[in-house]
């Protein structure tokens, strides 16, 4: 296969500890290697920055609610649609891109691995059909477990072996990657129009609390030694004062050590923490509690998080937190789509306009950035927008700009209509830290890869790792204006994915050969769980058990991570 040598680039690679040194990177047969032959194709990276391909730890890019979002927002495609080219299909959609656009735009930004944040098991086949139609990037998907009837019953009865057997079965059946928990218990309560707003509110009829659900799944995850930890979106999202629920949630994991063979050190990953860091008790007193949240995160090394930064765009919110979306539509009266999924979860979609002239939106924007600026360990805090909830992923370069340039942040703050109120409710005006390029590499490459249990494959440029490399026309020492940051990271000079050149000066030159990652966790045979599954399908599901599993041809290029849980 092809050999490449990326010459004379300034390399930022936390995996090998390279902090802005000029170094050649060699690629052969899809892997990073020490050296290559003279036949290697040379890519000139002089004066440019070189990093591993970025790893997206949480985005809503494939599946039923994403597609419902696309189909119910024709206006999201107006005037921004691009025709196809030599190697590309036509691509459109600003906040909810089509699958082709998703692949192309992530690749153009140098992202090479993306995790679909929430997969409802009954719809897993749909998620995989979309993943199949997303070019270039390797992907995985997280099935949701936090509102699952089997999980409720087993955890309520403290049947750890059974819940582990069920988790193993569901991961295999859905070809899923990790345990995702969204608004635990609350989305089942939503089946009756109710919710769980604290982690101790019991789920109607099932009489288990969100805390018990999360703790139980955390325990199971560590006993099984899965590559990723539990990935949590806790209760009470979006409400003023919810930072207390967030800290209560974090504390469930306190002191617990990770057990696994993948180098993962966290037992809890909390997602889009921005939405969970609110103080005050109403919209009038709404304020940032980013510092309180980060005090805990900084002091407890066994958790990781991603930001969920607001980009101040018109976007579309979509989440498996069904009751939250209903709440949102009562606030902004915009079109609300909802699907409750039998025995498993619920989901909702509502468009949202993050207007910088609205005080609350501006404070939300500030909070996302504050969380990053307060972080002591960039290996445990990752850049996301919970795409598309807080903004489209195509805005990542803009977020990088805000993180790396205090001047750009201060300019934004001064430009807000309610500037004084926003500054009073947040700390951002006094935070002058500027994230360095090396730290950015930790927050977008090495950190996410490690938290996913993939540090031997992705997020680094050590020999033997996947040849996922991005080269940007960016020189940390020669930044004329913050806009240079956004411009450089919007369109990479070169992107290599698994050893194939896929982006050349911002153009897609190959569709690569993307893979779907999933986890096969082997557990001992459990006939109790087998019987329970058969029974529930017979009595309560609306499909037959034999039609539930995702067959192999929906995952044409799988990368299976085997875990021996014994």
């Amino acid at each position: 296969m092809s050999e490449y040598i990326i010459k004379n680039g300034t390399v930022y690679d936390p995996k090998t500890g390279v902090k802005g040194e000029v170094k050649d990177i060699c690629v052969k047969d899809g892997k990073i290697v020490e050296k290559v032959s003279s036949k290697a194709k040379s890519l000139d990276a002089k004066g440019k920055s070189v990093m591993a391909g970025a790893v997206e730890v949480h985005a809503h890019v494939a599946g039923p609610k994403v597609n419902e979002g696309r189909n119910y927002r024709p206006e999201d495609k107006l005037f921004s649609y691009k025709p196809g080219g030599k190697n590309t299909r036509m691509s459109g959609g600003f906040s909810i891109p089509t699958t082709f656009k998703t692949g192309y735009e992530y690749a153009r930004m140098g992202y090479t691995t993306v995790m679909e944040a929430a997969m409802p098991p009954l719809y897993a086949r749909h998620v995989h059909e979309e993943i199949k139609d997303t070019p270039i990037i390797d992907e995985g998907a997280f099935p949701v477990f936090g509102n699952n009837w089997f999980v409720f019953e087993y955890l309520k009865n403290n049947e750890m072996d059974n819940v582990m057997a069920y988790i193993s079965w569901l991961l295999k059946t859905t070809r899923g990657y990790a345990i995702k928990i969204v608004n635990p218990g609350g989305s089942e309560a939503w089946g009756w129009g109710e919710n769980c707003n604290t982690i101790h509110d019991p789920v109607p009829y099932f009489d288990i609390t969100p805390a018990e659900i999360m703790k139980g799944l955390l325990t199971a995850n560590e006993k099984m030694g899965l590559p990723h930890s539990i990935h949590v979106h806790t209760n009470n999202l979006g409400n003023p004062g919810n930072y207390e629920t967030t800290l209560d949630t974090f504390k469930l994991s306190q002191g617990i050590k990770a057990t696994n063979k993948f180098g993962r050190e966290q037992v809890l990953h909390h997602t889009h923490v921005q939405f969970h860091s609110y103080g005050g008790d109403s919209w009038a007193t709404f304020e940032s509690k980013a510092k309180d949240v980060m005090d805990y995160v900084n002091a407890n090394k066994n958790m990781t998080m991603d930001l969920g930064c607001v980009t101040l765009d018109e976007t579309t919110t979509m989440t498996a937190d069904g009751p939250f979306e209903h709440h949102l539509t009562t606030l902004n009266h915009l079109k609300w789509a909802n699907v409750d999924v039998e025995l498993e979860t619920s989901s909702g979609i509502v468009p949202y306009v993050y207007d910088p002239n609205i005080k609350v939106c501006a404070i939300q924007w500030a909070i996302g950035l504050e969380l990053a600026l307060y972080a002591k360990d960039p290996m445990r805090v990752f850049v996301t927008t919970d795409h598309p909830n807080a903004g489209p992923f195509t805005r990542y370069p803009r977020i990088f700009k805000w993180l790396m340039s205090n001047a750009s942040r201060q300019e934004m703050l001064k430009g807000f209509k309610n500037s004084d109120k926003v500054i009073a409710a947040t700390d951002l005006a006094s935070l002058d830290r500027e994230i360095t390029l090396y730290e950015l590499a930790q927050m977008t490459r090495a950190g996410p890869a490690k938290s996913l249990g993939l540090e031997s494959m992705y997020g680094g440029l050590a020999p033997g790792m996947e040849a996922d490399v991005a080269v940007y026309d960016f020189d940390e020492g020669k930044v004329a204006s913050p806009e240079d940051i956004e411009k450089a990271f919007s369109s990479a000079e070169y992107v290599i994915k698994s050893g194939t050149l896929v982006v050349d000066h911002g153009e897609i030159v190959s569709n690569g050969n993307k893979r779907t990652l999933w986890v096969d966790a082997k557990v001992p045979v459990n006939s109790q769980v087998e019987r329970d599954v058969q029974m529930k399908f017979l009595k309560y599901y609306s499909v037959n058990l034999n039609n539930y599993e995702v067959s192999d041809h929906y995952v044409p290029n799988p990368y299976v991570i085997e875990v021996d849980t014994n």
Partner: protein
């Protein structure tokens, strides 16, 4: 000797039952018996095995109106030529085939700058327009089975159109929270006619034909405790309107199922819009959802594939090189009526039977091809008719149920000797179109 295959998916209507048991002959060539299906579904399996009456090779219309058999290669050439040459070809149908086949068709459409449209254009497209305006609070059919105690059938007759719907999901099943089955469910049917479905209703609102929108808005006002103008609202006495509103509010989980009675009667998308808004309003008092009774077994799938590939669920105009959408301009009926297309390709549907006559005449005037296992009014007016294997019987593929749940249909018997599948035919056409376009 026979073989028995269980968990078979029925490829007929949007109910997409997946519990059929099909018995085939030992060689796996003929369906001998079908269990659990409704009469319509069973018939689809049984008659597919009647190879003596199947068209098994493509046919081309001659100058005297008769048909002559041609080879698949000739059919591929004809199809590729008319699509590649056209300035604005229309590729319609898609509802009775698999997602895999639809996907290949879309590649052809993109290459040819075509309009891609499915049967939602004359059915639930108006529902999709309403969803685009006001969203849709919905749920999977298992939620209905396990929780629902208020069922409304509005403008639909599932007893006839979705025969096993009531027994599998909506009225009779005993679910987790609904152990008493239909005894703990209240049923409201809104239909100007008395039907087999309305005979099961606790309340039958015989709405004045064409005034569902007025009745829906009146129900919304009643739910909000507002006064209504007049003693009779859209054919229904005012007291009955308030009674219905109270019945809806007093349940703990309600579902509205609706069909062509409201999607294609006066107002179309506005009727659905109002019904969705009613559902949304009811969520202020209790839990309510609404589900569209999709007709064809994979029209939903066509909408899904078009959605993730192009961003719109039907009536997608690719002619300018980027996707555009606006039913009223980009829909098949108006395109044919205004003579805006110059070639027509039909697959997996029968516009010749369902479209307005003006459109049917246009189909017969244009260079055309129809891909369909059957002889239909459409195939009889197209230049070339290409028979293909039945999806869900002779070839597998992914399909989406009316509640968007994906279920993989499988093959139970072999197709007749030498017959192609949709996907194979389309792949060959794609290859030829790529050749023609590169010149």
């Amino acid at each position: 000797m026979t073989k028995t295959i269980t968990d078979v998916i029925c490829p007929f209507c949007g109910t997409l039952c997946d519990d059929l048991i099909v018995t085939t002959d030992d060689e796996g060539k003929k369906v001998v018996a079908v269990d659990n299906a409704c009469a319509i579904g069973a018939e689809k399996f049984i008659h597919s095995s009647d190879h003596a009456h199947r068209v098994t090779r493509p046919r081309k219309m001659q100058d005297d109106g008769t048909y002559k058999e041609i080879s698949y290669n000739e059919a591929i050439e004809h199809t590729a030529q008319i699509l590649a040459k056209a300035k604005k070809p229309l590729m319609y149908g898609w509802s009775s085939t698999s997602c895999e086949a639809q996907s290949v068709g879309h590649e052809i459409a993109e290459l040819c700058g075509a309009v891609v449209d499915n049967t939602a254009a004359v059915c639930h497209g108006t529902t999709l327009i309403a969803v685009q305006n006001v969203g849709i609070p919905s749920c999977t059919l298992g939620e209905v089975k396990n929780r629902a105690d208020r069922i409304i059938f509005w403008g639909c007759n599932p007893a006839h159109a979705h025969p096993r719907h009531m027994s599998r999901y909506s009225i009779f099943p005993r679910g987790y929270f609904t152990g008493k089955g239909h005894k703990q469910r209240k049923i409201i049917v809104v239909d100007p006619r008395c039907t087999d479905t309305s005979s099961l209703a606790d309340i039958h609102l015989q709405v004045e034909q064409g005034y569902d929108y007025e009745l829906l808005q009146a129900l919304r006002a009643a739910v909000r405790g507002q006064p209504l103008a007049g003693d009779v609202i859209a054919g229904v006495p005012k007291e009955k309107v308030y009674e219905a509103a109270d019945l809806l509010k007093s349940g703990r989980f309600g579902v509205i199922f609706f069909g062509m009675g409201v999607t294609q009667s006066l107002g179309k998308d506005h009727n659905i819009d109002a019904a969705i808004c009613l559902t949304k309003d009811l969520n202020d008092y209790t839990k309510f959802s609404i589900v569209a009774m999709r007709g064809h077994y994979n029209v939903t799938g066509s909408g899904q594939v078009l959605g993730w590939q192009f961003g719109f669920p039907y009536s997608v105009d690719l002619s300018r090189g980027f996707a555009r959408y606006n039913p009223g301009e980009t829909g098949s009926v108006e395109i044919l009526k205004r003579q805006e297309a110059d070639a027509i390709f039909v697959l997996g549907s029968d516009p010749g039977a369902h479209f307005p006559m003006q459109c049917v005449k246009e189909i017969s005037r244009l260079p055309s091809v129809a891909i369909d296992p059957h002889i239909t009014p459409t195939t009889e007016i197209c230049d070339v008719h290409v028979p293909v294997a039945f999806v869900g019987v002779e070839v597998g593929g992914n399909c989406y149920r009316m509640d968007n749940v994906p279920i993989e249909a499988r093959k139970v018997v072999d197709p007749p000797e030498g017959m192609m599948t949709d996907q194979e035919f389309l792949s060959a056409v794609l290859k030829r179109v790529q050749e023609l376009k590169s010149n």
